[in-house]
Symmetry: C2
Subunit: 186 residues, 2 copies
Amino acid sequence: MEDSVRRRNPERTRQSILSAAQEIFSRRPYAEASLKEITAKAGANPALVSRYFGSKEKLFEAALEASLDAGPLMPASRESFGEQVVSAFLSPDRGRVNPLSMLIFSTAEAGLQSMALRLLQDRIVVPLSAWLGEDDAETRAARVMMVASGFFIYRSLLPLASMTGPLDPATRQWLANCFQSAIDNG
Amino acid sequence: MEDSVRRRNPERTRQSILSAAQEIFSRRPYAEASLKEITAKAGANPALVSRYFGSKEKLFEAALEASLDAGPLMPASRESFGEQVVSAFLSPDRGRVNPLSMLIFSTAEAGLQSMALRLLQDRIVVPLSAWLGEDDAETRAARVMMVASGFFIYRSLLPLASMTGPLDPATRQWLANCFQSAIDNG
DNA sequence: CCATTAAGTAAATTCAGATTTACTTGCGGG
DNA sequence: CCCGCAAGTAAATCTGAATTTACTTAATGG
């Protein structure tokens, strides 16, 4: 098993590149996440990206897809939906991998937009809609994404003072209401 | 006056570059908006960017600043705030210049983030807070930005089917409520 | 009108990162 | 044991864009 670390293992290599990509692409904008940095973190050679994934864009796609699969974020009860989502956002164990971050970053690369939109639709909007189970469920799911993304941006990417750190109770309440009313009838 | 078109006029040149930059930077992510394209649209030479603005980043800053000054978006009445904001978003004459777009794009360039944050704070959050006139006004202003940005993203950048085109009345109402409750007491 | 400075241009330079290439090393089957 | 392919590497290539440079052309003030 000591050996197995150094032993060749394409699947392991592929995985370690993918994992590194998820982390780096979550942290840095696409244009600033170099394959050199990603492969260095993975302990691999930049040329292997081409072998295993085809291109940087394809690697990004695989990374986004993988992290969307990881965190399904499907809520428990419909009544406390708003509060659940807010709690999830504020939970301290928010991993180094962040699909929402990648989603926002893919906004800034023409070549990624349609792919990101497709993944967003298939992996988030559709499942969430199914869970909601109404005619206009997709509209409601879209509303949820809007608030989540806006919150994420001003909490992490352009960190406005009032949105960073512990949230003031009024804002927390307001957010929960937004999420809740996004899916409620009326 | 025929002459004056061809006559040298540094101020005019500077302005035309700035205007072109506002348009292009509103339309394309920073990394994909080349100085070549911008100066071509302005009918100027790429080297002049260096002369008049110093660098691409400085040009972006100037462009963002200029477009923030242009559209003050200060609302009329506090009671109909939510509806006003939604209407503004949906109004057909949304120009080619879009500060919100630039703000989102600057999210994806480490070198732009702090600058964008500062401008956002000074040109939007502070004025809007002043208009609101309460202790926690900045928090409320931040909430408004969140919803506006989320809406913009899924309407324009990652256009979800249910958010493009004419909005369904329920969503329109929900949005107005979000904006309104963002600034209301309670 | 000339000389000096500012404005503008075309082409050279730099640079960094993705992708390719040509090569080396390890591994598993025959 | 060794052949052949798969995995991995280092370095070369390509590309596209920002920035610099060296130069040309216009304006301006004396």
